[in-house]
Symmetry: C2
Subunit: 205 residues, 2 copies
């Protein structure tokens, strides 16, 4: 398979690349690195990335930015002024737009795999925007699965905090059992190389 991997240089993305490159051609994409440059928050750059990538059997997002901030910092505000703006523009609409572009570009029977995270289910302090965005992406995946044409499939992978990221994140995730990027990468393999659609693969330990 030819697989476009957005966020290929990240902690999660590099593990996904290592897992899938054993059997497939993985085309690395990212905001600042990779053979294709793509900014999830820019719909035009997503369209352009698919044009550059050529024929594809799968697209994976292992990317997505959100704002972490205490609830007290969030004020009632319109999109653009809200602290939810980054998460909505990037990890939410960015992954939605990647999926919509993939719908138009993937070969018949291709697959789309997005990334959410444990905060959709299990909140932490300062994580409300991440929770909101992850919950949106998971419900979107379940919904879109029933409408995708040409045998296309879509799933999400929801990992818990990664052991590789605990140096930075441990204070926010006390008591959470971390997983490894390599273990989370298996869920991406399951989505791409399996046959299910509309699933959220949770990797919670």
């Amino acid at each position: 398979m030819r697989i476009l991997l957005v966020g290929a240089s990240g902690t999660l993305g590099s593990a996904v690349a290592a897992e899938l490159a054993q059997r497939h051609e993985v085309i690395a994409a990212g905001r600042n690195s990779g053979s294709i440059r793509v900014d999830l928050a820019d719909a035009q750059s997503i369209r352009s990335a698919f044009k550059q990538a050529g024929e594809l059997d799968a697209v994976i997002s292992a990317a997505g930015n959100v704002t972490f901030a205490p609830l007290a910092d969030f004020k009632p505000a319109a999109y653009g002024q809200s602290l939810h703006t980054l998460g909505i523009a990037d990890k939410l609409l960015g992954q939605v737009n990647l999926a919509l572009a993939a719908r138009d570009h993937l070969r018949d029977g291709g697959s789309i795999t997005l990334t959410t995270g444990i905060l959709a289910d299990q909140p932490i302090v300062a994580g409300s925007s991440a929770s909101l965005v992850n919950g949106a992406v998971e419900a979107f995946v379940r919904a879109v699965a029933v409408e995708l044409p040409r045998g296309l499939r879509i799933n999400a992978v929801s990992p818990t905090v990664l052991a590789e990221a605990m140096a930075a994140y441990a204070p926010f995730f006390r008591g959470f059992e971390p997983t490894t990027a390599a273990k989370a990468a298996l869920a991406f393999s399951r989505s791409v190389e399996g046959a299910q659609t509309g699933q959220v693969y949770k990797v919670f330990s």
Copy 2:
């Protein structure tokens, strides 16, 4: 209790008003009716509604607009151009902003109750934006519950399609067992008059 009810004139809202007005003072609010006018898509009108309402023990949203459209109509596009814009601005950020304003205005121990819907869990054709928005609001509710100050609580009610709405919606919800607005209203009572927080009360039949 003094309860601000947004969407009080709707099918669901009027049943919620009937249930709660038996025991509480319900202040009706809405875009085009009610003693207080509020547009969920306008953060300033939400702030203004709380100022007009005075002291409150609870706020309920039985409102929220989203776009229903076949997946084929959705194109990769930024916020503002995307068919997801209405749902994000209104049912998602509108309810988020209502909750954030309520955090600052409710009396200690007050409650916030938002509305989602069965599409968060069980998709229908043309419902992907509703699913996305409902999933976002439910995850937001779970997350915000762990950070709300002053004993404030927050829950969501997720009803299936209402019997009263089947004249319009039946073709989209074939095989779904409708509930009644009166039965769904009980879940709002449970949220407001109960003691739980971070819950999604599903009323699926």
